[in-house]
């Protein structure tokens, strides 16, 4: 058996609200968790904390902040 590799859990923030996800999950999963997919379907977009738009399949990491607007 391979030696265990340790990973930290992944908590991201959608509109400043915490969302806990499994490793490998993407922007869309955070939006699903936060109930924001309807807003995306309505034409809002998702941005990182520097104001750059993100694709829904974009990767996330622990501590990331994303905003739907």
């Amino acid at each position: 058996m391979a030696a265990a590799k340790r990973w930290t859990d992944m908590r991201v923030y959608v509109n400043r609200k915490p969302v806990d996800l499994a490793p490998g999950m993407q922007v869309k999963h955070a939006l699903i968790h936060a109930g924001q997919m309807a807003a995306i379907e309505a034409g809002l977009k998702v941005y990182d904390e520097r104001g750059h738009e993100l694709g829904l399949d974009g990767a996330l990491a622990d501590g990331r902040k994303i905003f739907v607007k």
Binding site: D9, D20, G24, H33, I40, K45, H52, A61
Partner: protein, 511 residues
């Protein structure tokens, strides 16, 4: 006099920083893309009013950009896997397209490993450009870097990929090791400095990570990024490093123009060009390749993978147990090695008629790109999940649970939240305090369809460990983002050849 002239010319050459023979100023262009994920055709993104992208239109844009300025064309990973058509050919279609577009180099993304190491080696052998991965050890055909000459300027292109790649199923990685991107860049930078004027990192690490690399490692001139699908409309600068990223899915082409003087970048400008299929002229060669592979999809999706002796029922999947729901949930539970499995009825879109089962049938039944996870739930949380599943019976909602490894009864007339009656797991009464590994799809694990209990369970997650084939944590016992559920179902049908699942009373309404 002639001797003086020779001496003067020699002196000027020696004094010139260009033993390589720099012109006074050289204009270079870097074209860049990332995270295609096999999106060959234009598509209408969620919330968008129009279709965007299309690889043939993007190729046309590349052609036009190249005609104006000699360029390098770079890809920052996750190019060949993802979209249905690319997956059906295990990325072969997209490497053909990239060959036609004459890419100069590509870094492997985490999803390039999803087809397994042997397929990745085939794709690398197929490609006319190098696959890069300076921080990946154990795959000799993966180069750390390549040196290109563009208008007399030596450009080192070094590739690094996120260690998040380790979240892919371990079977896809074999004995590969991933050192940190920072370690790899520090390792190779001295030799790159000796060989090249400009250092370009092609990074599949993510935009925040690219900023950190730029901050920590002086001497990186450009970072072409991917992984986070960030739409950087303009190049960003950290220290002296220019950072770019071109969104996703062939919806944009990045153009970075560099003015190089005496081997150094003295000025730059850049922008993203969004690809509009309604306006942008397609490259005909690329269009032909896309059409050729589209024509080959037919025989693949009509391939017979097995047979069912019974109609596999989907129309009633939102109101009660069905044999198709049972079969899919069984595949989930068995694959994940879980105690139970729950999938929401909304994930199952069509039934399969008795008789031969084609690939297309499974795609139609399971059209969403969902992957399998398993989360540790307490018995109380498992019951809560089932309560949620039967909370909208009146509306035939997409949340009704199809299950495996457990049985439950429920009352239609009882108040919402108190409808679930008797629950057994593996034949034993549910223990509210015991923990059970419950397989589900990523959509539900993220709280989709209102199944918040899975997301709540992940809050307890501490460190994750890779143990004998699955990435686990305190709450996560199985996680395979690189394999779609429908592929697992197809594998199961192919393995069994003939199936005849029957409804066996896993969920029963008592009134």
């Amino acid at each position: 006099m002639q001797g003086f002239r020779i001496a003067l010319i020699s002196l000027l050459l020696i004094m010139s920083p260009a033993s390589r023979g720099y012109a006074n100023q050289v204009d270079l262009r870097i074209l860049y893309v990332n995270d295609f994920h096999g999106f060959a055709e234009p598509y209408q993104p969620a919330g968008s009013q129009a279709a965007l992208g299309g690889i043939a239109c993007l190729a046309g844009a590349v052609d036009r950009a190249r005609q104006k300025q000699p360029s390098l064309l770079l890809a920052a990973g996750d190019m060949i896997q993802g979209n249905v058509s690319a997956n059906l050919f295990q990325g072969q279609s997209f490497v053909d397209v990239m060959n036609a577009m004459k890419f100069d180099a590509m870094v492997v993304g985490n999803h390039e490993f999803d087809f397994g190491p042997e397929v990745l080696k085939e794709r690398m052998a197929q490609a006319n450009f190098p696959f890069l991965g300076a921080n990946v050890e154990g795959l000799p055909s993966l180069k750390p870097y390549v040196i290109k000459d563009l208008q007399g300027i030596k450009i080192a292109i070094v590739g690094v990929v996120t260690r998040d790649t380790l979240t892919t199923h371990p079977r896809n990685l074999g004995d590969l090791k991933f050192i940190t991107p920072e370690s790899a860049l520090r390792k190779y930078l001295p030799e790159l400095k000796g060989q090249a004027d400009i250092i370009v990192v092609v990074s599949h690490c993510g935009y925040p990570e690219d900023r950190e690399l730029a901050d920590k490692i002086p001497g990186l001139d450009v970072i072409v990024g991917g992984h986070t699908h960030t739409k950087l409309l303009q190049p960003q600068v950290v220290g002296h490093t220019i950072i770019v990223q071109a969104w996703e899915h062939a919806k944009a082409l990045g153009v970075l123009d560099l003015q190089v003087k005496d081997g150094k970048i003295v000025k730059f400008q850049g922008a993203l060009q969004e690809i509009n299929p309604a306006a942008d002229r397609a490259d005909l060669q690329t269009q032909e390749i896309v059409a050729r592979y589209a024509g080959r999809i037919g025989p693949i999706i009509h391939q017979v993978i097995g047979e069912t002796r019974l109609d596999l029922d989907a129309p009633r999947v939102r109101t009660g147990e069905t044999n198709l729901g049972d079969f899919i949930a069984d595949v989930m539970r068995q694959t994940a090695g879980a105690d139970a499995a729950i999938i929401n009825s909304g994930a199952i879109k069509a039934g399969i008629a008795r008789g031969k089962i084609e690939v297309q049938d499974v795609y139609t039944a399971l059209p969403y790109d969902n992957y399998l996870v398993a989360v540790r739930l307490t018995g109380a949380q498992l019951k809560e999940a089932l309560e949620h599943g039967v909370s909208h019976l009146e509306k035939a909602s997409h949340g009704f649970p199809q299950v495996s490894g457990l049985t439950f009864t429920y009352s239609r007339s009882a108040p919402v939240g108190s409808r679930v009656k008797d629950v057994t797991v593996d034949g034993r009464p549910l223990d509210l305090n015991k923990e059970y590994a419950v397989a589900t799809i990523d959509f539900l694990a993220a709280g989709g369809s209102g199944y918040t209990v899975f997301g709540d369970a992940l809050k307890k997650a501490g460190d994750y460990a890779n143990l004998g084939g699955a990435l686990t944590s305190g709450a996560l016992t199985y996680n395979d983002p690189g394999t779609w559920l429908r592929d697992l179902v197809m594998d199961a049908i192919q393995a069994r050849k003939t199936i005849a699942p029957k409804v066996d009373g896993r969920s029963q309404a008592v009134d």
